[in-house]
Symmetry: C2
Subunit: 315 residues, 2 copies
């Protein structure tokens, strides 16, 4: 049997037909059009399922289930999506709406969770009993996979790893707390610190790299300068890595995964990031002579959403 | 069938015969005598098993398995206890030594983990799919129970919840890191802050309560004064509760348990502690309108070690 995976984002919907092993056989996409309301978006998701199955030269009879990864959470108790960031959805009956168009089992989970599932099936974490995927982007999201299944908790609110507090009284977070890990381990954190530094030191290499237009500073600006040996950027990057490692160590002390896979924008700095993490982490883990999680780069990139969503349906 | 549970501590060994439901039928204990080396300690554990079974009017044929909770970790890959704090044990073959004396399956886990298992079988967390036990004592330990089983992770190093870092760059911890939760959420933290305050304010109620002998300040000194309305102690207690809640919120965001049970010395402040936590926690959880973990007091007290160890053998 094959599975359909849907990656529902704020700007686009991507769908794919995926086999048992997590290989994408065929893909299709369309814009989300959030402003039209959830009924229209879900109708388009169902239409995209029909389209991608046809494109693959198959029929709906070949499809065992449909999985959806979305930037929010699913409440297994009510069957509703209580929150979906960027889509402004509250208590949306996604499964019931999908069933208006398609008579297939529908599985739903958070997009970062689903990406973690994809990595554990067909990516860098394949074969691990416990793995965690951490996406280092605008925010920090995560997927915790235990025994081949996403760990979402009894109320569906687990895996909010970006909102673990690592700096009591620290930076104000969008969630209302202070000092959440994502305020320090996201690409946004590198940008914030880069701009702050460039503002205080207008002659620094970071400011020069953007011709003085500090709004143009990205995480890549800072990381590329750190790579090239600029001491200021290297210091900012080192501070970033410290904060990143604090959260990684917390994940290790709490979940003891075999692999933590890093994805998202910051992970594009590749081996440079891994080397920095692997230099700092060993002195921070609790049991220093015991084996602990390997830190790796996620490898499925943008396809992780489709693959992982599809794999929700593989029982 | 019945089970033997052994609670191995730095000063004493306690053993009990326990039924399927976690009821202790009979107990016995003896001093640990750590200085004699692990062979002698384990021989005494085996002897205590024989003694407690006899005391219960049973024979070893009635016993399905022996469980041991100890202040360290067990490595399922090697069958050894790599570390056991207070006992100065390194790579000790506990199972093999026990098998010199008794031909029964032996199960081993961390003492806080085992106490969590006890609460989930016969205590306040009974019936919960996911529960976490947090002991607030000299340090902060924990047991994470998922689907009736202790979650110890692939390398056996999970559940080190006291060493999650909540204050980057904070107080130096015994583990070598800075800012571990146990530096802020343990009884030790209340004592440290109480003494620090009393030193700076020799006329404060805390200093007076111990007749100026600041070394005599305990967590109870501070908490009792906070209860009685002393504003300085109340402020220290409020800061303590903030730090406690930060770690609880992290556990909620990562594990989404149905219950978090608080045990250990600080939990003896009872409803006063629960009320303070329940006032602060709701504004700190990520999904503010979703159900999340209830915070409760653990209820098995000192028996949790025996009960939980015994329940390790119940498959």
């Amino acid at each position: 049997m094959k599975y359909i995976g849907i990656d529902l984002g704020g700007t686009g919907i991507k769908a794919g037909v995926v086999d048992e092993k997590g290989n994408i056989l065929c893909k299709a996409d369309c814009p989300t059009g959030v402003e039209r309301g959830y009924e229209a978006v879900i109708r388009d998701m169902a239409g995209l399922c029909e389209a991608v199955v046809q494109k693959a030269g198959m029929s709906m009879d070949d499809i065992a289930a449909i999985g959806i990864g979305l930037p929010g959470i699913y409440d297994p108790a009510t069957g509703l999506v209580p929150f979906c960031t960027n889509l402004h959805w509250h208590q949306v009956p996604v499964t019931a709406e999908m069933h208006k168009y398609l008579d297939k089992p529908v599985y739903i989970d958070n997009d970062a969770t689903v990406a973690g599932l994809a990595e554990s099936v067909a990516g860098v974490s394949a074969g691990a009993k416990v793995s965690i995927f951490v996406t280092l982007g605008t925010g920090v999201g995560g997927g915790i996979i235990v025994d081949g299944k996403p760990y979402s908790g009894p109320h569906g609110v687990a895996s909010e790893i970006g909102h673990m507090i690592t700096v009591v009284g620290g930076e104000l977070c969008t969630c209302g707390n202070r000092g959440c890990w994502e305020r320090y381990a996201s690409a946004t954190a590198i940008i914030r610190e880069g701009r702050k530094f460039a503002q205080a030191h207008p002659d620094c290499a970071i400011a020069k790299a953007v011709g003085g237009d500090l709004d143009a500073i990205t995480a890549k600006t800072v990381i590329d300068l750190a790579k090239s040996g600029d001491p200021d950027a290297a210091k900012l990057f080192d501070d970033y890595v410290t904060h990143l490692c604090v959260g990684l160590v917390n994940l290790i002390n709490l979940y003891d995964p075999e692999i933590i896979a890093l994805g998202g924008g910051v992970s594009h700095s590749g081996q440079f990031l891994l080397d920095a993490v692997n230099e700092k982490l060993p002195s921070m883990v609790f049991y220093k002579t015991m084996p602990y999680a390997k830190i790796e780069l996620a490898k499925l990139g943008n396809d992780a959403g489709i693959i992982g969503a599809a794999m929700l349906g593989r029982k």
